[in-house]
């Protein structure tokens, strides 16, 4: 282990403390008043073996540098939070604290710079997502690849953290396989397939089969009239309605198809319905679409269809609507009469679609190489298994010269940098070796391409210490904002060596943020920062939360609710990013993105349609801000109950960036009990009687107490729901389901912040939290920096992060401004 005292800045910082001799000897120019500050305000309690909270500041010199930095980070955090010195002790003035913090942060920054001589960030490989995206962009293919690779671990909450991206033999095996499959899917073997048009009449006997419309269970509720489908109820769960003719078409010629569907609702009560579309085999969801009254709406979808795949159409929630209107549920032999009908007026498809031929994927590998049939190739060339004599293969007149041209174009794109002189020769030699072993040009080139895709220059993001060069910077920017390799424009900017100019870097960042590709950044970042990818980790209890289900009997989740919950949070941030709205909206906001289902879920005034749109919230609403999004409330709960400890710790860590210390190994726990006899707060109160527990829980629990006003699926509640004890609610319906849960004890969503400020519920709590906007912005900046560089922010980065936040403060903490300030920071622009 390295001596902690190697760096002068470190020596300076450490010399503050051991024995505190130097500090007492007199102020030092660089130290300012920090030395005497620590002596008079900290050392009294945090010195020696009996130090309070087992936190000593007099033995930091004996620790490894990184560990010492972490401890100094804690000192800074407690000072910033105003938690130390504690209430009851002599407390330094605000100015004195600010001065000490400024000095400490700059000393920590200096120390970090010297300690991390080989760069702040480590070299890292592409993670699964980055790998797949890079292959897709490089080869212009859309083949899913990420599931072939082992799952990536996370470091500090992000799965692109350098520390966690280990590499193992199984990676190498899978890289070989993935590259082979991707390359095979990129090349063509024949002339352009014919693009066919298909217009479906559902009166066609081909559609009226037992596997589809003609199924006995489907016929009573799904009528075919004049070639159109009339949904009066749901299809049989195992016999979903799709187009058999489209399935036949994709079986004969799989590939990309454009499907156009028109639909309208026929209903004497004038309630427009919702159409759900998904791919039948791949289960890809196209989503929920409005089916208007009167003039049919046109829905256009494009999708890569696997052989035999088709589009499944289903009405949303029709059964519950019939039930609520007192209409009988049809079933063999009783035919549905009256009630709302969702009508499919027309169904057309066109495909397989090819923008160009040969497609861009083939051109990426064999651009402008003439094609020949295998039967016309020299007799000694080995024909790959499974090829027909009439299949085509690239056949250049001069293989070696052609290989040089193709690789010269491919390798710099794959490696995301210009080639150096030694790069090309081994690849050419590989091609030559294969050619002389009797392989065809195609096979020899594919072997070289496969080698390139398995080589560390493709798989790793390589950076040199110091300020990043143009191409490394281009890669960092591109993988940050598009989660993939640089595009043509960015590559040209790097080739022109202009990214070092902050204005050009900002311009490129803006351009990428404006392009739809930036959704890849936003979605992946939210998936991880807010754990949206864990939304399905638990399924809500059917008895306690029936609203989450469309059909309780089959446990079919209410898909519109489930997708809206996720979409709300994504749209909220996309709007902040596009319009540079302030990050204070995370805590509270006057608007929310809602559709008809989510408005109902939140108990807000009705909103029409399935599409989420920005809606102004009523004055005095408890909603508003990310903390009241059902997505967050769901991922911070389990399926049947909530814990203020879990939610509180989540707010501290994810929103404020002040993670609580982990519980000691012998901390107690509470066994969840939803029978209704006790509430979680009563159980917690017993558990926290001890002063040691109370110390941390004073900070952890209050945000969780405020969020107790929301149940595990994000509904507002005044009472807990219970299974055994409590008032019976027999006659009540919840989203069309008869209620089985009981009304349990009332919810207390009030609490007191550690600073003594009381709140009575979420609204007052949010007002208090809103005062912390600069801290929330800094936490977000730190998360963005971690996500962008693969290295989490540590105390040495605080100074620069404060600068980033100060810059964003001038733009009212706009989210977009914050992202761009992070990109302009030293943290981003140096290794």
């Amino acid at each position: 282990m390295k001596s902690p005292c190697v760096s002068p800045a470190w020596a300076l910082l450490l010399s503050l403390v051991p024995g505190l001799a130097m500090a007492e000897a007199g102020p030092n120019d660089r130290l300012g008043a920090v030395g005497p500050f620590l002596v008079s305000h900290c050392a009294g309690c945090h010195e020696g073996a009996g130090a309070k909270g087992k936190f000593r500041i007099d033995n930091l010199a004996g620790l490894p540098a990184a560990e010492a930095a972490k401890r100094w980070g804690r000192i800074v955090a407690r000072l910033e939070a105003g938690e130390m010195p504690p209430v009851g002790k002599t407390r330094p003035g605000e100015k004195e604290v600010a001065g000490a913090l400024a000095t400490l942060k700059s000393l920590l920054a200096g120390e970090a710079r010297e300690r991390r001589a080989s760069g702040r960030a480590q070299v890292r490989r592409l993670n699964r997502l980055e790998y797949e995206n890079s292959i897709h962009d490089l080869l212009h293919v859309r083949l899913p690849l990420r599931d072939l690779l082992p799952e990536d671990d996370s470091a500090d909450g992000f799965d692109n953290g350098a520390k966690a991206l280990s590499i193992s033999p199984v990676h190498v095996q899978r890289y070989m396989e993935a590259a082979e499959r991707a390359l095979a899917s990129a090349i063509i073997h024949g002339p352009r397939p014919e693009t066919k048009k298909l217009s479906v009449s559902f009166g066609d006997p081909a559609e009226n089969t037992y596997q589809n419309l003609g199924h006995g269970h489907n016929m009573p509720q799904i009528h075919v009239r004049e070639g159109k489908i009339w949904f009066l109820g749901e299809s049989h769960i195992e016999v979903p309605i799709h187009s058999m003719l489209l399935a036949a078409a994709t079986r004969a010629a799989p590939g990309r198809y454009r499907v156009t569907i028109t639909t309208h609702t026929d209903d004497e009560m004038n309630e427009p319905q919702t159409l759900y579309l998904k791919a039948r085999h791949s289960r890809h969801e196209f989503g929920y679409f409005d089916s208007p009254l009167g003039k049919p709406a046109e829905i256009v979808i494009e999708h890569d269809f696997k052989p035999g795949d088709s589009v499944v159409m289903a009405p949303y929630n029709l059964r519950a609507i019939r039930r609520l209107r007192g209409l009988p549920n049809p079933g063999p032999p009783m035919k549905a009469q009256g009630g709302p009908a969702l009508v499919i007026d027309s169904f057309a498809a066109e495909g397989p679609l090819h923008e160009t031929w040969p497609p861009a994927s083939h051109e990426a590998l064999f651009a402008s190489v003439p094609m020949k049939a295998w039967k016309d190739m020299p007799k000694n060339a080995r024909v790959p298994l499974g090829r027909k004599p009439t299949d085509l293969t690239p056949a250049p007149s001069d293989a070696s010269a052609q290989a040089k041209v193709l690789l010269g174009r491919f390798l710099p794109r794959a490696f995301r940098r210009p080639l150096i002189s030694a790069d090309m020769a081994p690849f050419l030699a590989l091609v030559e070796r294969n050619l002389s072993a009797g392989e065809s040009f195609e096979s020899a080139m594919l072997a070289a391409y496969q080698a390139a895709l398995c080589s560390p220059d493709f798989l790793f993001l390589v950076e040199n210490p110091g300020p990043l060069d143009d191409h490394a910077l281009a890669s960092r920017l591109s993988y940050f904002l598009t989660r993939s390799m640089p595009d043509e424009t960015l590559r040209s900017a790097a080739d022109a060596k202009s990214l070092g100019d902050p204005a050009v870097l900002r311009r490129e960042a803006s351009r990428l943020l404006d392009s739809p590709r930036s959704l890849a950044f936003l979605n992946d970042f939210l998936d991880q920062w807010l754990r949206l990818r864990d939304l399905d980790a638990t399924m809500p209890d059917k008895e306690l939360f029936p609203e989450f289900y469309e059909d309780l009997h089959s446990s079919k989740v209410d898909g519109l609710l489930r997708s809206s919950i996720e979409e709300e949070t994504r749209l909220f941030f996309a709007d902040m990013l596009r319009n540079d709205r302030g990050v204070g909206l995370i805590v509270d906001s006057g608007h929310a993105f809602l559709n008809k289902r989510l408005a109902e879920h939140y108990g807000l005034p009705p909103v029409a349609g399935a599409r989420l749109r920005s809606v102004k919230l009523p004055a005095g609403s408890d909603r508003g801000g990310v903390l009241t999004h059902a997505s967050i409330l769901k991922v911070t709960a389990n399926g049947s109950n909530t814990s203020p400890v879990t939610r509180g710790a989540w707010v501290l860590e994810s929103i404020l960036g002040r993670p609580p210390q982990p519980p000691p190994p012998d901390a107690g726990g509470i066994e969840p009990d939803t029978r209704g006899a006790t509430t979680i707060r009563e159980q917690l109160a017993k558990h926290q009687a001890s002063a040691t527990c109370a110390n941390c829980h004073r900070s952890i629990d209050p945000p969780g107490f405020a969020l107790e006003a929301f149940d595990p699926i994000g509904q507002f509640r005044q009472h807990y729901r219970a299974t055994k004890i409590g008032t019976e609610l027999k006659t009540v319906f919840a989203h069309g389901h008869r209620v089985k849960y009981r009304q349990g004890p009332p919810v207390d969503a009030g609490g007191v912040l550690p600073g003594g400020q009381p709140f009575s519920g979420p609204r007052e709590f949010k007002a208090l939290l809103a005062l912390e906007t600069p801290l929330i912005a800094r936490n977000l900046a730190a998360k963005l920096a971690a996500f962008a560089t693969g290295q989490h922010a540590d105390p040495g980065d605080l100074l620069e992060l404060d600068r980033v936040v100060a810059e964003a403060a001038q733009k009212d903490f706009g989210f977009r401004s914050l992202v761009i300030s992070v990109i302009g920071s030293d943290i981003f622009r140096t290794k």
């Binding site: 070299v123 690779l149 671990d153 081994p426 080589s455 399924m539 860590e653 509470i670 066994e671 006899a677």
Partner: protein, 435 residues
């Protein structure tokens, strides 16, 4: 060991790789050679939501303990398994479900946001000792979701979730043409890896010392796959065993449903893989789709529904043990006697989410079984307490408790792995002896 039947594998010997003949094959060929004992094998079964301790853990420790309600489903095997209570992975207190990752490794996972640095899982440690001796070094299976197997540097190995795929790996014979193509691909793969390894080495020279470690890791991985390809080249023209049964049909439907049928299919595949000596190390993650039920909040109806899902797994486990007992290897030797079959979880039970006092059953493998080994006496006392409604605190890791990794170390040593530490082990498990 008689080397004579090995002569056709000369190129392998030339390459310096110790590749012994598969045990079954050498049994058949080396006529007159001294009888070899059956090779040790390991099966680790992990389930994510534990077992309800009220009905799982026997009230009394020792040899004359009375089977608990849950364990009564294993009553036919009472003499062939040991049940352990009070074992834990230390320092995994806040991991919750995420501690699933350390179920078979014992790495620290103190809290949810901790940066897990996982270590090798017991099956991979075991497999490493027998590399190349069977067609597959290990089989990594799941009935849903990821696997429980981890490499030495903590990478999660992908799992097979379709019984039909296991079957085709075990039994599906390839045509001579396919074999030739496979050999050609192995050759091409090796030459490519050579190439890529060189690239990694040359890039390693251009980066800083701190970054070089990662590229070294890559280089070593490339070398390792090259060795693997070399070994699998030796297996390509060796005929696969004849399938004793018809191929299984995978169950469609939601991935979490039909646990009972899925377990049976997969456990049958495990038995076939062992019987044909296709592998020596197997892990399987079972998933009962009862995550929601496991958060039963002590509601009696849900709790009992949750318990019946747990029983499905115990019944399947019992079925596997029966099959391993019926399969004989040589005179009077049951396959179970050379096969350690572990069943455990990362949670005590789903409702508490506690990562301490884990449920553990070990069957077979030539240990002296038939006992309940308890390592946390207060746990037994708390379970027999009359008022089960009283909120309980997580029992701390008491001083009498031992890490679950002590059991893993005992198993590895029993399996012939030369090792004196595994994960968080402090020694071998007290009270567990070889038969």
């Amino acid at each position: 060991m008689s080397r004579a039947p090995l002569s056709r594998r000369t190129f392998l010997r030339a390459s310096g790789i110790a590749l012994s003949l598969p045990w079954l094959e050498s049994m058949g060929r080396a006529v007159g050679a001294p009888k070899q004992p059956a090779p040790p094998r390991l099966v680790a079964i992990g389930t994510p939501f534990g077992f309800d301790p009220q009905v799982f853990i026997p009230a009394k420790a020792g040899r004359d303990y009375e089977l608990s309600t849950h364990l009564s489903h294993l009553k036919d095997h009472r003499a062939d398994f040991t049940v352990c209570s009070g074992l834990s992975h230390p320092n995994t207190g806040g991991g919750g479900h995420k501690a699933e990752a350390v179920m078979l490794t014992g790495a620290a996972y103190p809290d949810y946001s901790y940066n897990l640095k996982n270590t090798i899982s017991i099956d991979q440690q075991f497999a490493a000792a027998y590399r190349g001796q069977a067609r597959y070094d290990s089989l990594v299976l799941t009935t849903y979701g990821g696997s429980l197997s981890y490499t030495g540097n903590g990478v999660n190995l992908p799992a097979i979730d379709q019984p039909s795929r296991v079957f085709s790996q075990l039994f599906l014979a390839s045509t001579p043409q396919q074999q030739a193509e496979e050999l050609r691909k192995i050759g091409a793969g090796r030459s490519m890896l050579d190439f890529v390894g060189e690239q990694a080495r040359s890039l390693g020279r251009r980066v800083t010392v701190a970054d070089r470690a990662r590229l070294d890791e890559y280089f070593e991985s490339v070398r390792d796959v090259e060795r693997q390809l070399q070994m699998s080249g030796a297996w390509v023209d060796r005929p696969k065993p004849k399938a004793p049964v018809a191929p299984p049909r995978d169950l469609p439907g939601p991935a979490t449903a039909e646990q009972k049928a899925k377990l049976k299919l997969m456990f049958d595949m495990i038995h076939l893989a062992l019987r044909t000596d296709s592998t020596r190390a197997i892990t399987i993650k079972t998933f009962g789709g009862h995550h929601d039920l496991s958060h039963h909040g002590k509601d009696p109806a849900k709790r009992s529904a949750c318990q019946s899902v747990e029983v499905e797994l115990l019944t399947a486990y019992s079925g596997l043990l029966s099959k391993l007992k019926e399969s004989m290897e040589g005179e009077g030797a049951r396959m179970l006697d050379s096969t350690m079959v572990l069943l455990t979880s990362n949670l005590r039970d789903g409702n508490s989410h506690w990562t301490y006092d884990l449920p553990v059953i070990l069957a077979g493998g030539g240990f002296r079984h038939g006992r309940h080994l308890n390592f946390n006496a207060p746990l037994l006392a708390s379970l027999s307490e009359a008022d089960q409604n009283r909120p309980q605190a997580i029992p701390p890791m008491g001083k009498d408790q031992q890490p679950l990794c002590n059991l893993y170390l005992s198993m590895l040593q029993r399996g012939g792995v030369k090792i004196d530490r595994f994960g968080s082990s402090t020694g071998t498990l007290t009270g567990l002896e070889a038969a």
